[in-house]
């Protein structure tokens, strides 16, 4: 049984050159967190370790940030509209308050969706947690040894400058393809996945998986 198996655990630094060069991450706000400290996920097994946690690159929030900025400025121009001709000042003020609260709600839901939509690479699995909005959650995962093909793609001027892109992972499982979209250092992530895949094969050959 896959989930009952016991193996002689090696630390990720023992077999991954990529992770050997990374320090454990304590700052949980970042989009690229190698060896994160004090981060767990709900379906994590007791002997499973999170090796890398990824979020979409912060630059992907730029459009939402600009929208929020202009939304904050919009009430300054409300006196120019036809509302101020027939509504008392307290009603106009109520409209402005509502607008600012709506903007705050939008900012909050954008932040929460970004913060909790994560890609997790553990020593056993890859997990894609997607909060499409505040109301829709989609979690897909695949075991490392089910990975068949890994590729990374960086496209666009900004993506090349800031080094972010998409990692495509083909698996043999039910979920045929997993995508880590707009993540920082996609080539590094693909290289790490290759190292994990090699380690899984090594474990099988050396009989460390029982």
């Amino acid at each position: 049984m896959a989930h009952n198996r016991k193996k002689t655990q090696r630390s990720v630094d023992d077999y991954s050159e990529i992770m050997r060069g990374e320090k454990p991450s304590r700052n949980h706000w970042r989009a690229y967190l190698p060896k994160p400290v004090k981060i767990h996920f709900d379906t994590q097994a007791s002997e499973e370790h999170v090796i890398l946690l990824l979020r979409q690159h912060p630059v992907t929030l730029l459009r939402a940030g600009l929208l929020i900025f202009f939304a904050l400025l919009a009430p300054l121009f409300i006196d120019l509209t036809f509302f101020s001709d027939f509504l008392p000042a307290r009603y106009i003020f109520a409209m402005k308050l509502s607008w600012y609260l709506l903007t705050f709600s939008y900012a909050l839901s954008t932040f929460l969706t970004w913060f909790f939509s994560v890609f997790i690479i553990s020593d056993e699995r890859i997990i894609d947690v997607d909060f499409i909005s505040m109301l829709f959650k989609d979690v897909s995962s695949a075991k490392i040894d089910a990975i068949q093909d890994i590729s990374s793609k960086t496209s666009g001027f900004l993506a090349s400058i800031l080094d972010y892109g998409t990692v495509h992972i083909q698996t043999a499982g039910e979920e045929r393809e997993l995508q880590f979209e707009n993540v920082p250092h996609p080539a590094k992530v693909a290289a790490l996945l290759n190292e994990l895949l090699l380690e899984e094969e090594r474990e099988k050959i050396e009989g460390r998986v029982q």
Partner: protein, 77 residues
């Protein structure tokens, strides 16, 4: 009884109607803020980080602001 449709009474009726719209909107928004609190709980269970208290506080601030807004609609308009 004699009802006279003056400009003032029309104006009052219109403002009362707008106030009701604000109150209904405020109530719906209040319900949404509760859903946000619930969803934050689901999110915090999915990914457990050291930032849980800060994120929970954001949800409660959001709920507090919607309550304040509803009270403003109810008492000031």
């Amino acid at each position: 009884m004699n009802f006279e449709l003056t400009d003032a009474s029309l104006n009052t009726a219109l403002l009362s109607f707008i106030k009701i719209l604000f109150l209904v909107g405020g109530l719906l928004y209040f319900a949404f803020a509760f859903i946000v609190i619930r969803q934050i709980k689901v999110m915090r269970k999915t990914l457990i980080t050291a930032l849980e208290p800060e994120i929970a506080v954001l949800g409660w601030i959001h709920l507090g602001l919607t309550i304040f807004l509803f009270l403003y609609f109810l008492l000031v308009l």
